[in-house]
């Protein structure tokens, strides 16, 4: 097994320039590069309309795009979403706040806990409910595990879209270790429904600490191996470097958040900027890259896996004692084991199941950093146990919208790479 540095040298020998370390192009330079890669669209010719998806193998989920093609150049794109629309917002209006939690992890089913977490943060803001420290730490651990699982899956799918099958299996194998941990913690592999208003559903199980440490010691080594395989691979380099440039200005205009924004040189991360859970008590760096292309989005996600491992390790080291669910009669459910033994817990259970937690009149918006970007929840309450209006502002909705602005003028083969690089999940997009 050779050293990664050799690969850099070898890539350079074979003609591709070695990635410049620490080079930071300015916004003007990025714009000029973007314009250069897209000036080909001016060519006039016969335009052919092709439907890409919803069953195209490199379209994610049921996303469909109508492409107008001039040869292999994309002239216009008309995205069609909605094939997976389940009316979650309408359903939420007919349910109590506790009952909405299982709907939320069906939004982005790749990182279900992050969605539970975002909704609970919003409800806690509305009700001014407090989360005990242990609950906040367990939430942080579960959120970061979801982030790792999401990014590893993303990497496998992204590379598969570019034409490799084997690497997908490698990623799936490693994701399985993380899903096993999540299963041990929450009881489910994908749809966790683990967060509760005022904390989480269960404490860390016995032996979790040991297994989790093993996995997070092991994963950074795996990430190094992914980078050894992918980062200096000439085929990947040529298909990803300088492709799909999307500057920070464009990101603001189109509400592109998360790794695509951070790859454009913006150190924007809600975990730092508007800290929630235990993120203000742990140390980590925001992953930033500067070239705003597909390649840098890959680099950002690999950095984020490493940072997530760091966060989880600190959370396990400093895990406080105490309750993981707030002993809060008004807002939180009681512990299940107490319900049949303790009369007050039984009353609390009755109140929450049949009447639901009472929210004050008002409206809140709370955003958190989910693996795909910034996910916000808007709740308008008229008092009582059910919200009057809920809106899930999910990142994939906007990332699905931005595809025309990203790919018009590029080659059709690049569309596959670009679309995969922004990480759209259609459950998240269609709600």
């Amino acid at each position: 097994m050779s050293d990664p540095v050799d690969h850099v040298a070898r890539t350079a020998e074979r003609g591709a320039p070695a990635p410049e370390a620490g080079a930071r192009p300015t916004l003007a330079e990025l714009k000029e590069r973007k314009a250069r890669s897209r000036q080909r669209v001016e060519r006039g010719g016969e335009v052919m309309t092709v439907s890409m998806g919803p069953q195209h193998p490199s379209m994610h989920g049921v996303y469909r795009a109508e492409l107008d093609l001039d040869g292999e150049l994309i002239v216009t794109v008309r995205p069609e979403i909605g094939n997976l629309h389940r009316g979650v917002e309408k359903l939420a209006e007919a349910r109590t706040y506790h009952q909405i939690i299982p709907l939320t992890d069906r939004l982005d089913y790749i990182s279900g806990f992050a969605m539970n977490h975002g909704f609970c943060e919003a409800v806690e803001k509305l009700m001014e409910a407090e989360v005990p420290p242990r609950g906040r730490y367990i939430r942080t651990i579960a959120s970061e595990l979801c982030r790792i699982a999401n990014h590893i899956l993303w990497l496998g799918v992204h590379i598969m879209d570019l034409g490799t099958q084997t690497f997908f299996c490698i990623c799936f194998r490693d994701r399985e270790y993380v899903l096993d941990l999540l299963e041990m913690l929450t009881g489910a592999r994908l749809t966790h429904s683990f967060a509760r208003i005022g904390g989480v559903a269960k404490d860390l199980p016995d032996g979790f600490d040991h297994r989790c440490r093993k996995v997070i010691d092991f994963l950074p080594r795996r990430v190094a191996e992914y980078e050894r395989i992918v980062k200096h691979n000439r085929i990947y380099y040529k298909r990803a470097k300088g492709v799909g440039i999307f500057t920070s200005e464009d990101c603001y205009a189109w509400r592109v958040t998360g790794p695509p924004l951070r790859s454009a040189g913006v150190a924007r991360d809600l975990r730092k900027d508007e800290p929630y859970a235990a993120y203000d008590e742990v140390e980590f760096d925001v992953a930033v890259e500067y070239n705003a292309d597909v390649y840098d989005r890959f680099l950002v996600r690999m950095k984020e896996i490493r940072e997530s491992c760091k966060i989880i390790r600190q959370c396990l080291d400093n895990l406080p004692d105490g309750p993981f669910l707030a002993p809060d009669f008004a807002h939180a459910m009681p512990l299940k084991k107490n319900v049949l033994r303790n009369p007050s817990a039984m009353i609390q259970d009755f109140v929450h199941v049949f009447r639901g937690p009472q929210a004050p009149k008002g409206e809140v918006y709370r955003a958190i950093e989910v693996p795909k970007g910034e996910m916000g929840v808007y709740i308008r309450s008229e008092g009582g146990a059910k919200p009057a209006r809920v809106r899930f502002t999910t990142p994939s909705f906007y990332h699905g919208q931005v595809v025309p602005a990203m790919v018009e003028g590029e080659m059709i083969a690049d569309m596959v790479a670009i679309f995969a690089s922004i990480d759209v999940v259609l459950g998240d997009c269609d709600r």
Partner: protein, 172 residues
Amino acid sequence: MKVWSTPPTLEAAAAALERRFGDRVLERLEFRGELTCVVAPADWVELLCFCKDAPELAFDQLECLLGDHLPERVATPFEVVAHLLSHAHGHRLRVKTSLAEGQALETITGLWPSAGFDERETWEMFGVVFAGHPDLRRLLTTDDFEGFPLRKDFPLQGTVGGRIRTDLRGRI
């Protein structure tokens, strides 16, 4: 207990809005450290344009735009709510306007192109028309869908397709 308070930059932004628009900001609400401004539909685009361009506000990102239905308000049952975010200052603002049935609102896709899908969704879910929107079609539901599903008078089970046969319960 976490205390939600309005950030000082947002106070300055609200003061700037007050100076520029005065009484045209119909209502100013604060709840959990969030500021909400209510404006008339006629001032919608002008106010959002000011929010984007004025240096004290500098709202460079439209976080989301959504519709709402309040049937108890008979004259103006519909609401359109925009959430703005400033990367420069790190503050957020909510701007609202109330509309009557069938009343059109001017589009803001010229200010933030990300409003395109949001406005399409608001139209298909509530029937609020956005004048000047480049492509106002149904987005999440099928093209032949009838009705506006997120209105409060729209039944939860829907108006088309199969229904749950509660009359057969216990017999099969």
